[in-house]
């Protein structure tokens, strides 16, 4: 039986040289994301700005959104947003934070329910008061920083500080690009988005760590190999794994996106972009090449873990196959 090979054996792509392309592209995309963030902003859900969200299902066929809009606009509840949600019968109604404190929000819900009456089924009613929304945002932001900090400390202990710094730059890059994606698509930014961002952090780092692990191993075993070559060999050696893993995660996310329902739609879409696309790109094209600038491996004085292995083993495939070639290209 012939097996599926997405990445051929013995790839030999010069990722380090390619940084001359990938770094400017990333910088440009990051700037674009930041500009988007400040011009378009994020589409904050009620979790973070407070307000009311009501999901209704029309009992008699497709909902007449235009008519509902007129009815609700007459209630004087400020801005009322209506949108179809997952099907023609379902409508999502959003009310802005009502002036007059916590009780005013409850009163607004009762008004809407009074106006729409029994013609619809109330599938979901969410009211988040100003105090709670403020706290949720506060904790969400703290959570992201705590996660980055904790992971950094872990990497710093497990590797060298340069690796931690490289991972952090990659991290921030991922978060910035994902925020840009959320800004351009205007996906709801709510509590599940924070969950998505944190998972993207963990996941993209997971990938970075796999490559770093290999780099560290190579640093110990091949003390004389020049850094650019060493990084290239490491990235190429783990490339097949990176791709296969991300295809499986993409498949899992695809299933969630297609069948998982509206409630986690923004969550899976964000994950798909951040973890499966940006995360992979970052660990291969940013996190590892950046180690060149951070001075990893300069003046390394490692005692090889297992000297007999170095003696027995032929050096890894890439340099043996095309050593002259690889060197000439640099």
């Amino acid at each position: 039986m012939r097996l599926l090979r997405i990445v051929p054996d013995n790839t030999n792509f010069d990722f380090i040289r390619f940084r001359r392309v990938s770094f400017p592209v990333s910088a440009l995309l990051s700037i674009l994301a930041i500009v988007l963030y400040f011009t378009h902003g994020l589409n904050f859900g009620i979790d973070f700005i407070g307000g009311t969200l009501i999901e209704v299902q029309s009992k008699a066929g497709p909902a007449d959104i235009a008519k509902m809009r007129t009815t609700l606009n007459e209630l004087g509840l400020g801005e009322v947003q209506l949108q179809e949600f997952g099907g023609p019968e379902n409508v999502l109604i959003r009310l802005a934070q009502q002036p007059g404190g916590e009780q005013a929000q409850q009163a607004a819900v009762q008004k809407v329910q009074g106006a729409l009456g029994d013609a619809v089924d109330y599938r979901r009613v969410e009211v988040v008061g100003p105090r709670v929304s403020g706290e949720l945002l506060h904790w969400g932001i703290i959570g992201i920083f705590v996660a980055i900090g904790a992971i950094l400390i872990y990497l710093w202990f497990r590797f060298e500080w340069q690796f931690a710094l490289g991972a952090m730059i990659a991290n921030v890059h991922d978060i910035v690009l994902t925020l840009g994606f959320m800004s351009i698509t205007q996906i709801d930014f709510d509590l599940t988005s924070i969950a998505a961002l944190l998972t993207i952090l963990g996941y993209s780092l997971n990938d970075t760590v796999v490559i770093y692990d290999r780099i560290r191993e190579m640093l110990r075993r091949y003390k004389k190999m020049p850094m650019p070559e060493l990084l290239n060999v490491s990235i190429n050696a783990t490339l097949s794994r990176s791709v296969i893993t991300h295809v499986t995660v993409l498949l899992a996310l695809m299933a969630l996106l297609l069948f998982g329902g509206q409630a986690i739609h923004s969550f899976t879409a964000t994950m798909m972009f951040g973890a499966a696309l940006v995360g992979t790109y970052t660990s291969v094209f940013i996190a590892s090449p950046i180690l060149i600038y951070l001075g990893v491996g300069t003046g390394r004085q490692y005692v090889p873990d297992a000297p007999e292995e170095v003696a027995v083993e032929s050096p890894p495939t890439v340099p043996t196959r095309t050593p002259a070639h690889a060197r000439a290209r640099r």
Binding site: L3, L4, D9, Q57, E102, Q106, D121, Y122, R123, R124, V125, E126, V127, G129, R131, V132, L136, W139, G143, V146, A147, A150, I151, Y154, L155, L191, T192, I194, A195, L198, T199, G202, Y203, L205, N206, V209, V210, D213, R214, S240, R241, I244, T245, T248, V249, L251, A252, M254, A255, L256, L258, F259, G260, G261, I264, F267, M271, E313, P316, T317
Partner: protein
């Protein structure tokens, strides 16, 4: 790496079996499981987003607590000064978060000031005294004394208020006869109520949103309510409103209550025998009955008002003394509102007003849809991943699929054992874990491939592949675990469900990667003695 003693292999299989065994109760109905021993009864709990229900977060109104405290404090000051026969220049009054009184300057002042200072108690009693006191008593000069409750005292009072409120809220909700409602305190000033599977959240809000302070007061007939609104109401009376249909009718009532709801021993919704209207029957305890009897005796022919919170329910005329200690309230009730009032009166009044600050209600229809969506997504995800693994690694792909299946079963086992809540994001966490679990196998297999390319024989390549890949698997999963842990601590509700399944998924992934996958491979190697690696 590839050798397992019989005992070790048995231990691994047993662990996996026991953990998976915890999923068993989920396949039986709740009734069946109830007859099992307690340790076997743990099962998965569906989150509110899957089974429908209400999540309501309430916060005690700090201003209400402060206001109550200041009113009581003013009365204390008045009493203390009167007992000491000290006269004042300006009567004690509540002002700017404290009570102020202007005393006459002179010989009396220092005694008076000392008396007022005596009102301040060490916080938390004398025994646990930590130097903090309940009041700040300050001489502001010119005979003015300002008495303010300390922040610590207010905080303590808030805490006590919540402690007293939780059982009252529990009583109210239990009266609705629902399955497993939970009432928890959160922090110092909040109560979280979670009620699964409630059809009508409006009724719940009605029961939770009321302080339910019931008072019987006399109606002040010295002037009409209209006049009182325009001119000055007598100082011991106030205007409250009675709802009749859409109208709100002002009623001038005395501030002093004849009897309060605290003296009730029972309240039941019923129907008036003559008119057939819904009413609420109530019964007083001994002291309440005596006071109510005396008051009605003295006021036959005059109207009194039944006041709930700040609303007049009805203002009937006392036709005859009510001496038996029981009576009825009528006042435009529907069957439901009469029932609600009876529940509120039986459960008692909250010590302070609670405000709903967050409400999330999921209807049963959406819950069912979400369960279906979760099921469909899981099945689709599983099929895609299984097929992809087989296509990529053939036999080894099958091994990976077995390991992942064991992994998912173990996640469900651990979740059941913890009686954890499964939410839709939680299901997403499991589907994502499938991806992560596969990764550990991919890492191992790719490493094996590499070792083969480096010229190792099949068996040594497999051995080396495991040794090297496992270190990487550990390192890389810990980062994801850190993110899951942070999410668990900051997240609430469904998001927390995601953190839980993701975190557990990482632990089971490590277990299967280090044991199951290796064990399967070891068996295969022993049986087949492979000369080449089939990947």
């Amino acid at each position: 790496m590839l050798y397992f003693s019989r005992a070790k292999a048995a231990a691994i299989l047993l662990t996996a079996l026991v953990v998976i065994g915890f999923t068993v109760p989920n396949f039986f109905s709740e009734q069946t499981v109830k007859s099992w021993p307690a340790w076997a009864q743990r099962r998965l709990v569906l989150g509110l987003d899957l089974q429908g229900g209400s999540h309501i977060l309430m916060e005690v109104d700090r201003n209400d607590i402060i206001k109550q405290r200041l009113d009581a404090l003013r009365d204390e000051v008045v009493r203390t000064l009167r007992e000491a026969r000290i006269t004042w220049a300006n009567a004690p009054a509540v002002r700017g978060g404290g009570v102020e009184v202007r005393l006459r300057e002179g010989a009396d002042f220092s005694t008076a000031f000392a008396k007022l200072r005596g009102l301040s108690q060490p916080l938390g009693g004398v025994l646990q005294g930590n130097g903090m006191r309940t009041l700040d008593v300050v001489d502001a000069g010119g005979g003015l004394v300002r008495i303010t409750p300390t922040d610590a005292a207010t905080l303590e009072r808030t805490r006590q208020t919540i402690d007293q409120s939780v059982p009252i809220i529990e009583k109210r909700i239990n009266e609705l006869g629902l399955v497993e409602p939970t009432v928890q305190r959160q922090g110092t000033d909040r109560i979280l109520v979670q009620v699964p599977g409630l059809g009508d959240p409006r009724r719940l809000l009605e029961l939770l949103g009321r302080t339910a302070k019931l008072e019987f007061r006399m109606v002040d007939s010295s002037m009409s309510a209209q006049d009182a609104l325009q001119g000055r109401a007598p100082s011991d009376s106030e205007v409250l409103y009675e709802k009749q249909g859409d109208q709100r009718i002002p009623v001038l009532v005395k501030k002093q209550a004849l009897v309060e709801g605290a003296d009730l021993t029972d309240a039941q919704a019923s129907f008036d025998q003559r008119t057939g209207e819904p009413i609420v029957n109530f019964k007083f305890n001994g002291a309440g009955a005596r006071r109510f009897g005396r008051a009605t005796q003295e006021n036959v022919g005059r109207p009194f008002a039944i006041v709930l919170d700040t609303e007049v329910i009805s203002a009937p005329v006392i036709r005859e003394p009510i001496l038996g200690g029981s009576g009825q309230i009528s006042g435009n009730f529907t069957v439901e509102s009469a029932n609600n009032l009876a529940i509120l009166l039986r459960a008692g009044a909250l010590p302070a007003k609670l405000t709903v600050i967050e409400q999330r209600v999921v209807g049963p229809g959406l819950g069912l849809d979400s369960i279906k969506a979760g099921e469909r997504a899981s099945i689709a995800g599983a099929i895609l991943v299984v097929v992809f693994m087989l296509a990529t690694y053939a036999l080894f792909g099958l091994f990976a699929n077995i390991a992942v299946a064991v992994n998912v079963a173990m996640i469900l086992g651990v979740l059941s054992f913890l009686s954890a809540t499964l939410t839709l994001p939680g299901i997403a966490g499991i589907v994502l874990t499938v991806g992560i679990a596969v990764d550990s196998n991919v890492l191992i297999y790719e490493r094996i491939r590499e070792e083969v390319r480096n010229g190792r024989s099949a068996i040594t390549a497999i051995d080396a592949g495991f040794t090297r890949a496992l270190a990487t698997i550990l390192d890389s999963n810990i980062t994801t675990f850190i993110a899951a842990a942070v999410l668990f601590f900051i997240g609430t509700g469904p998001v927390r469900g995601f953190a839980v399944t993701l975190g557990i998924g990482i632990i089971t992934t490590l277990f299967t990667a280090f044991t199951m996958t290796r064990l399967i491979m070891a068996w295969w190697v022993r049986m087949v003695r492979p000369q080449t690696v089939p990947i």
